[in-house]
């Protein structure tokens, strides 16, 4: 094999005076970047294997390790950046499609950061959420045109609704893309918080069935793990059409990751590739989508709301109008910054549109058509904090999904190597030795802390606006001001 032209991306620096040769770093690194030399009694490093996940840095008891970006530079060239050159080397050596993990990391504009939120002064008093009730509770699902009341009771049965204590849910992450412990942490946290987590297209592990009322089960093109029990196990069903990180393409869980547990949960043979085709082969039109929505409703006796998740792409407003008319109760729009366990790099970095525009366009269109009440809108893809949530709701969302933020809360360090299956933090891996590093109780606690903290912040922001229920903020764009946006972007 010829020599690789790829130089290390990172450099592992070890302060030898601090290093006590405990070899924690050697044992912790699944990429084998640290090596102990017994003869010399020294710990050495293979920089080329380092992915900069900070596992060794965090666990080193004497803080002896630092990871730096390799300062080695190519000759300056605005067109042929180091990244562009390295990618070509990699493809020239392997002949393969470049893979990546997590969301788009390119410096495209982030419109959340170009919007500011309003607050009350004098004319409309602000509210102190520490003293006064503040409502974050949200119901997702189809709302009737009008309510008919008879003898103090509703005359007609409401369509099925999802009840959320906070308008934040954990987005679809399959058992396969993340570990069982990570799934369990999400399920436990959702159940404690009164929100939802989503199985992704990985089936539902039997040990997680008890979290059913806080579970959204996903039906995607591969139909993995889908049977009547699965459909009835959750609080809602989500049809996955697309994903923000990889609009228009399907997914492959490589055979080496199809372990005994994964095979059982997805109901496929051990070690075979799990292929989710790009389209659902029973959906080639809005009419076909309606058919799938109603076949799922029939199979669950109309007891569960059905959501449809799409990636934010051109014409998203018209597409969502079609989805609403096809009978979906909830529409999920996933922006181009949404995360993934594995996606072709070119697709992740170049396909889709910003969620901020998509959301505003969809909300406007559904209002214009007078069908906004027929569906709830969930916004996903790159929500980083509580102010992003507030801005999303003011732009028209009913709730948001968070994926990457939830993973970071559990310990993810954004090294973007999920697809290798060697996650040192026990999240995006199926290696039992790595999985056990993630304690589900601790991870669930961290998730609960995060959402509680965000909920407090959201209440403060609402109070500042003089609003005491999240309901009053929905689609209330008067509460936002654009900064440095062109008139078209506004």
């Amino acid at each position: 094999m010829a020599i690789s032209l790829l130089t290390p991306e990172f450099i592992i620096e070890r302060n030898d005076a601090r290093c006590i040769r405990c070899q924690v770093c050697v044992r912790q690194c699944a990429n084998l970047a640290h090596i102990y030399d017994q003869e010399e009694d020294r710990v050495l490093a293979d920089d080329s294997k380092c992915v900069n996940c900070h596992r060794c840095v965090t666990l080193c008891p004497t803080r002896a390790i630092t990871i730096r970006k390799n300062p080695l530079e190519f000759k300056e060239n605005a067109s042929w950046t180091a990244t562009a050159i390295r990618e070509i080397y990699k493809q020239a050596e392997t002949g393969g499609i470049l893979l990546t993990g997590m969301g788009n990391d390119k410096p495209y504009p982030i419109y959340w950061d170009r919007m500011l939120i309003n607050a009350s002064q004098v004319t409309n008093p602000s509210i102190d959420p520490l003293r006064e009730p503040m409502e974050l509770k949200t119901f997702l699902g189809r709302k009737p045109e009008m309510l008919k009341v008879e003898n103090g009771k509703l005359k007609e049965k409401l369509p099925p609704q999802l009840e959320l204590e906070v308008p934040i849910m954990f987005s679809a992450m399959s058992f396969g893309s993340i570990s069982f412990n990570a799934c369990q942490a999400l399920a436990m946290a959702a159940s404690e918080l009164g929100i939802m987590y989503n199985t992704g297209e990985g089936g539902l592990h039997k040990n997680l069935r008890k979290y059913g009322k806080n579970t959204i089960v996903q039906v995607a093109s591969g139909r993995f793990g889908v049977d009547p029990e699965y459909l009835n196990a959750g609080a809602a069903i989500e049809i996955k059409i697309g994903q923000g990180a990889k609009p228009g393409i399907g997914g492959h869980l490589p055979g080496e990751k199809v372990t005994a547990q994964i095979s059982q949960t997805r109901m496929i043979p051990l070690g075979s590739d799990a292929i989710s085709p790009a389209p659902h082969h029973d959906i080639y039109s809005i009419e076909d989508l309606r058919q799938l929505i109603f076949s799922l409703k029939e199979a669950t006796d109309y007891r569960k709301p059905v959501a449809v998740k799409i990636a934010a792409v051109h014409n998203v407003a018209a597409i969502c109008s079609g989805i609403a008319r096809a009978g979906a109760d909830i529409i999920v729009i996933d922006g181009f910054r949404g995360g993934t366990g594995a996606a072709p790099l070119r697709i992740r970095d170049n396909v889709g549109i910003p969620i901020e525009f998509a959301l505003a366009a969809v909300d406007t269109r559904l209002r214009q058509e007078g069908i906004r009440n027929q569906v709830s809108l969930v916004c996903a893809g790159g929500i980083r904090n509580s102010s992003d949530v507030i801005k999303a709701i003011a732009l028209g969302a009913d709730a948001v999904y968070i994926g990457q933020a939830a993973l970071i809360a559990m310990g993810c360090h954004m090294c973007q190597k999920c697809y290798t299956g060697k996650c040192n933090w026990g999240i995006a891996t199926q290696d039992p030795n790595l999985v056990k590093r993630l304690n589900p109780e601790i991870a669930a606690r961290r998730l609960v802390n995060l959402i509680k903290a965000w909920a407090h912040e959201m209440k403060e922001m609402l109070g500042g606006m003089g609003i005491n229920a999240i309901e009053s903020l929905r689609g209330n764009r008067f509460m936002l001001r654009g900064i440095g946006l062109t008139s078209r972007e506004l």
């Binding site: 492959h252 490589p254 292929i275 109603f294 029939e298 290798t420």
Partner: protein, 245 residues
């Protein structure tokens, strides 16, 4: 036997009625005058037998998990979509995407089937879905197939050109397709190979052709007289070398 007259009924009411009868442990339900009502038998479990006279609509027996449905007539698209267990017998032709992502149970069709039949069928442990097609099939038969058995008899044709459409077995990475007549190689996906069925294969074929002949009144021996071929994937990891790590 319970009898339902489906004429003029909305599918929602019809299906609720059928489910009610199944809940009451009805062994046999005869549904007369079916006029395209969709979703019949979706997600039903148990051992009931539903006999349909007329033409059921799309997505019949979707997610079905047990039970038997016999159709005296043609069926439309999406029969046995993501079916988990049970049996479907159709005394006629069916439309597209029959048995999409089917994981278990058996489907027998007397006549022809449409496009994309058996796409992404899969098997798991003791679950092995089977589709037996008496007539011919459209394009994309067994695309992405990951498990299970499709038996294509083509009893109404005697021409390798006509028994199946193009792209048969494209992306297939599990399971097997048996055909009574060899298939022209240009019609096959590049992920599959075609060989003559061996003794072990003929035993499997015989098992299901026997049932097929019994249901529809064909002569078992004359069908089994043919030299069947077997279409199966080169490996279970068709896209193993697609990526740069």
């Amino acid at each position: 036997m319970k009898v339902i007259d489906a004429s003029g009924m909305h599918y929602k009411d019809l299906n609720a009625m059928i489910k009610q009868l199944i809940k009451g442990n009805a062994a046999e339900i005869l549904v007369k005058n079916v006029q395209g009502q969709r979703y019949i038998g979706d997600g039903i479990q148990g051992n009931s037998k539903i006999i349909i006279e007329g033409t059921p609509g799309n997505d019949m027996a979707a997610y079905m998990d047990g039970a038997t449905i016999v159709v005296h007539g043609n069926a439309q698209d999406g029969v046995a979509n993501t079916m988990n267990d049970g049996k479907v017998v159709i005394h006629g032709n069916t439309g597209d995407i029959l048995g999409y992502a089917m994981r278990g149970g058996e489907v027998y069709i007397k006549g022809d089937v449409g496009y994309r039949v058996g796409i992404h069928m899969k098997e798991y442990l003791d679950k092995k879905p089977v589709i037996v097609i008496g007539g011919k099939a459209g394009a994309f038969l067994g695309e992405y197939m990951a498990g299970g058995i499709i038996i294509l008899l083509g009893l109404n044709v005697d021409d390798t050109q006509k028994i199946v459409g193009n792209y048969c077995g494209t992306g297939m990475h599990g399971g097997v397709i048996y055909s009574r007549i060899p298939i022209d190689s240009y019609k096959l996906g590049k992920e599959v190979k075609q060989t003559q069925a061996e003794d072990g294969d003929m035993e499997i074929i015989g098992l299901y052709v026997k049932k097929f002949s019994d249901y529809f009144g064909f002569d078992y021996r004359s069908i089994m007289d043919s030299q069947f071929v077997k279409i199966y994937p080169y490996n279970h990891r068709p896209y193993g070398n697609l990526y740069a790590y």
